[in-house]
Amino acid sequence: MKKIHDIGSYSPLDKKFIGTLLFSAYPITTVYSNKKGNPVIKEWVDCNKNGTVDRYFIYELDPSVLLFFLRGEISHKDLFLSAKNNLGFIFEKNRDEEKKYLITSPQDLPEDYLPEYDTYVNPDDIVDYDKIYQYFNLDIYEDKDYNNYYHKSISSKYNAETFNIHFKTGSGIKHGTIDTELLGITTLEFDNLYKELVFDTFLGKDRGSLNTKSKSNQELVEFSKTEIYNNIAASYSIFIRPKYSHATLFDKETFTESVANKLFNLIEESLDSEKLADTYSRYSEFVISSYLNLMAHVKEKNLNMDFAWYKPTNKAYKKNKVNSRTAYQAVSNINNLSTTEKDQFDVTGKFTALNCNTGHFAFESVNEEEFSGYLEKRIRDSAVSLNFKDFYKITIDRAIEKEPGKADPKITDTIISHYKMDRK
């Protein structure tokens, strides 16, 4: 028979001791290097009643993850949970004799084998920082960002195109916590924007308002839903994926990718007034309105955030930074796209309502067309002389304001002159 490799005869500590992470007097966490030159962490986790048998959890790490831990960006528990391939070894040792090995996942360890949730390393407790840093050349990972690393890891793990909203600073944001209201409103605004982008992508920008309660639209509405499926303390970072994936057999670009491209293009374009003027018409008013709401919220709450998206199959990645300054710029650029058309015309008919104090009027033309607005200030006092019996010829100054994000233009009618007609 062929010889089968016995995992029991493989020592997970087939490596070189590099140094002690924690602690000087009680070395519970030590660092080794395996043949690949990767860090292998050995954690004391348990012992038997009389202390003669010790149990350790041993796992390999990406060097960058070790650096994140040394920098205090990830907790000690996160370090365990970052074990390469989500695997590690439990081994028991009786003073001089190795006893047995088990392969397990850190997720399956008993709760009391893992550090407490919010336990981060105190730099003063790291024993051999320089030795460990230099041996693994951790300086080459200094520009790596943990949030970015985690985003790609979690997306790859679940094979899900994933959006990341990273709340960096702002009122209500601390390391690992965020005000519920802030998180709720921001994610809702994002979700609304995502939905409108989905509707635009599916139906085109001239689709009009979608009746989301209609049975015929239910499939599309379901398809536009997203879910938050992970989060990390970073200050606070959440990971969102479409609730239902849309299989695209022949398209290179997935549906979500198409939506993500629109979103990030919009963020970028909104910061450049010239670019925006060219591209703004590609989006429906509903998308613009949702985007304005999101940016207004960022501005109001003085948030500093990153929006990112990652597709694990082709490693496509997009990221935009958004803060109160860029949000103000975006809102301002979009609002500057407002256009106002002016018109002036005469209408014959009767007044149906008048307020002598405010100058508000309602007027019905002989063609049964209705108008309302205000008398120009200059002639407001003449309201007392008007009645609902006689026919009048009125001259209206009309301003038609087309605001971005609003489907219908705003019409403002002002009567600049009126004459009583002797007859119709």
Binding site: A25, Y26, E116, T119
Partner: protein
């Protein structure tokens, strides 16, 4: 005087210059029974950590009860089962020049003791309470 683990300590790599005889109050993590044989065993016998040929033969102490409690709290956050290894209680005692040589405390009030031969610290220490 001869150190208890004189033969085991690698004096080539062990710098004992910072150590000297002194009289000082000391606190140590121990098990509930002061006579438990593990209480004053050096780390060499309690872990498989053999990488520091000097440190594994020294006993750990703290200057104050508060500092020892603070340390166990920190250790427990990182390793919840640590008291199964170090002990569930804290003992208090007075070390003198006949017990061995100690170094200066660090910022956490921790110091190390190399015992002299024949010293039995279990007779000099008393349990003051649980460590947490």
């Amino acid at each position: 005087m001869e150190l208890k683990y004189e033969e085991e300590i690698n004096t080539n790599t062990c710098d004992l210059d910072p150590f000297s005889e002194s009289e000082r109050k000391a606190y140590r993590f121990v098990f509930q029974d002061i006579d438990d044989s593990r209480n004053f065993d050096p780390p060499y016998y309690r872990t498989d950590y053999k990488n520091d040929e000097c440190r594994v033969w020294a006993l750990s102490f703290f200057d104050s009860l508060e500092e020892s409690k603070a340390k166990i709290r920190t250790l427990k956050k990182h390793t919840p089962n640590i008291q199964k290894k170090l002990g569930t209680h804290i003992a208090e005692g007075n070390l003198d020049k006949n017990d061995g040589i100690t170094n200066k405390s660090n910022g956490e009030g921790h110091f190390s003791l190399f015992e002299y031969k024949g010293v039995d610290l279990s007779t000099k220490f008393n349990i003051v309470g649980p460590s947490i």
